[in-house]
Symmetry: C2
């Protein structure tokens, strides 16, 4: 049966998706390709497109169509889920004034550019004024959208719909109380850092290894790319165009490999959405925690397993025979899982990782509860690192400046890393039980049955369900 309102909505959805695609490309390019002198105009161009997107999303036409379709019982499951998700986005977006959308979008570009300079210089003052404005604007945005419990809830809702600050606070209180002492014991009992992890590994060879690895993990290079950026990330430009990045630092070979596996987890999710969901609001992840569940699952449950580490060591030795020739599979496995007090979240082991996240969550919460100022952030960071990890940052570069998230206005994002870690464990347990013999697969670097399970049970569902 023809449904004119749905067809009209589709026309708008396609246009939104086309503009969104351009916005994604502008953003990917900014981090991966853009020459430095392009930053100012890029910030403006991206802001203009985001504003156009916002104008279309909040247009009276879409509002009227949503009203007509919201209780249209002739819609199928895909259509009604799309209407539900779009209505949610529409309702949030209509509450944010256009000038705030533009200000935020422009500030993102500028603050991110400032962060890329501030971090290598270890100079927080380069970022501070922009970050202060960012916190102010995010508060205005949260208040415009509205919240029930507290302001931070509105920020969380952008990344993990429905989750509240109080819930996350409870999770982290519980987690740090139990994990803190355990982690401390493990760290004190840990051996020295394995020598092989601190050697120098030629970036070009690391790259060749990563390019081999993502193909083994079934990342489709005809429908995506692998590049490098200061902070690894995955971004979908369009269906058939999923881009991940990693980094190859000479003295952090494991960091590079596990960043690649992590991002491949994200990218496989993005490549797994059904093509029929393209342009639909359900052709996306339901939450960032869900997204992170896929990256963490491949990184930790798969990537740090004995079977998998043994298997990739063979290939890694081909690239680095001098550096790794004498290493035993067990030494490599232990190195990959070596618990260590590190200043850097993305280099952290599984034991300490969530303590890094807890620190960030506590600081964010304090910022948005007006209990902490941006000026006091570096000191609060250092104090928090001492509290959680008994470690004092040697510089802001290795402290408060290490992550790009806040410069992009991503407050409420960090907790999803821990949620994803928890989801990942549950998903992998279920997949293992359903499939049986997964370890044997991983010994042969064959992730196809596991990917098939994830595709069927998770990826193919998009945002059909809340």
């Amino acid at each position: 049966m023809a449904n004119d309102a749905w067809d009209d909505l589709l026309t708008h959805l396609r246009k939104l998706s086309d503009i969104g695609s351009a916005i994604a490309l502008l953003s990917w390019d900014q981090s991966v390709m853009m020459p430095s002198k392009g930053a100012d105009f890029r910030a403006r161009s991206s802001a203009t497109l985001q504003l156009m997107y916002h104008e279309l999303l909040t247009s009276p036409e879409i509002g009227a169509l949503l009203e007509r379709l919201s209780d249209d019982s002739s819609l199928d499951q895909i259509q009604s889920a799309s209407v539900r998700v779009l209505a949610r986005d529409y309702n949030k977006a209509t509450k944010v004034p256009a000038d705030l959308v533009r200000e935020l979008a422009e500030l993102e570009g500028l603050a991110y550019a400032a962060w890329t300079e501030a971090r290598p210089a270890s100079d927080f003052s380069k970022l501070a004024p922009l970050l202060e404005r960012m916190v102010k604007l995010k508060k205005r945005q949260a208040d415009a959208v509205g919240w029930e419990g507290e302001r931070y809830d509105a920020l969380l809702d952008d990344f993990e719909p429905g989750l509240t600050a109080a819930e996350v606070e409870g999770i982290f209180k519980d987690l740090t109380m139990q994990l803190g002492p355990v982690a401390e014991k493990i760290l004190q009992a840990a051996d020295d850092v394995p020598e092989f992890t601190t050697k120098e590994y030629e970036p070009a060879k690391q790259q060749a290894f990563s390019e081999w690895l993502i193909q083994k993990l079934a990342f489709d290079l005809d429908g995506g790319r692998l590049d490098t950026s200061p902070h690894p990330f995955t971004m979908t430009v369009a269906p058939g165009d999923v881009r991940q990045t990693t980094r190859y630092l000479p003295n952090e070979v494991l960091g590079g490999i596990y960043a690649t596996i992590h991002e491949t987890g994200h990218a496989l999710y993005e490549q797994g959405f059904p093509l029929e969901f393209a342009d639909l609001p359900i052709g996306h992840v339901p939450s960032l925690g869900m997204h992170e569940s896929q990256s963490r699952l491949w990184e930790n449950q798969v990537g740090r397993s004995r079977a998998f580490t043994n298997a990739i060591l063979l290939k890694l030795k081909e690239q680095f025979s001098t550096e790794l020739g004498m290493l035993t599979p067990e030494e490599f496995y232990e190195g990959v899982n070596h618990p260590e007090r590190t200043l850097i979240r993305v280099s952290a082991d599984e034991v300490t990782y969530n303590l890094h996240v807890a620190l960030r969550f506590e600081l964010e919460l304090a910022l948005f509860r007006d209990e902490l100022t941006v000026a006091d952030l570096p000191d609060a960071w250092d104090a928090g690192m001492e509290k959680h990890l008994n470690l004092r940052p040697d510089s802001d570069a290795n402290g408060v400046l290490q992550d790009m998230h806040w410069s992009l206005g991503f407050f409420g994002y960090f907790p999803t890393y821990t949620l994803g870690t928890l989801y990942a464990a549950a998903f992998f347990d279920k997949a293992s039980a359903d499939l049986g013999g997964l370890e044997e697969d991983l010994k042969n670097l064959d992730g196809s049955r596991l990917l098939g399970w994830l595709r069927e049970n998770i990826h193919s569902q998009g945002y059909l369900y809340t």
Copy 2:
């Protein structure tokens, strides 16, 4: 004195420039970075943005502002030139219906993608149906915009404003009549192809050389990039973001070097527009012939000179000591300027280059005079190559499929190559006379005085003058 209408116009111009920037990036990325499965959605996304650009450019608001400003005597030279150029674009754009704009934009993406498959496969049938539709749509577009003499005039006007088919026909008749016999004599008297030009040169080393060379030529890498693509081109994403591409084929070392010099000429022009022209319609080239004058000047007058070839050979020998160790400067100079019957325009020497262009112009003109069909294009191409160069293409890949232009709808573009070649000779003569001692500069690979002259007399003028 405040001028509200001008300020309002500026707001629109900035938005046009922001959308234009995204369109440019989508296009650059499509040729340089995009994975193949992204093609369909990219074509659509690019079309949507082009349509939005067209809608804004032809909006009643801009029309009304142009009317108010067109005889505003308080405007300064920059402002009134901007109004003149914008009014021209506005008047042309308002005549083209929005659905045709979208159809053309979508077809560009699809036909370009088809061309990238058709060329390596040497299979014209992969491109033919799309090219047929392209010619049909371009005819509709020309008729919508209108023309006085003949339809092809309207196409030319997009690239070389004001030029007519009759004028170009006269130029090429004159040129081929005089150049044809001279070229034939030179070709018959020419030595065999110098051995060094056909050796294999490792692409990675070619790349290192090109990266060194563009910096010597003062291309600003903080405000631009050099990448590779099947067909070299230069595209400005925004002020401070000028991107050129080249290509490194193992058996075409000179082709790669001179493509790089050629594109650097374009890119230096783009990097030379005053920042105060940013967002203004005069912050662009006045015509493609003018653009080509800069690329040809650096490629031919500078790049193929004895002084310059001698100077770069030293560096080239560092990269390729085995291949070039015994080569004398004079042999290299002769190799760079070796006249040769080639099937490929971009590999052609200065003597035969314009004959390649003449062929394309004749075919285009015949297509748009309805004297030739797309189906007959391959045969007509081969016949034309025999007529102009006594050479029969061995395949469509080396014949009618070699250039990307037609797949992108660029009809009326090729003649500007020859015009640019003529302008280049005149500009270089004048610069040499004004500056004196240019040869000495080039011996030292110092193009700074020449670039200064071009910046002052040409680049800094943008599109101030018709």
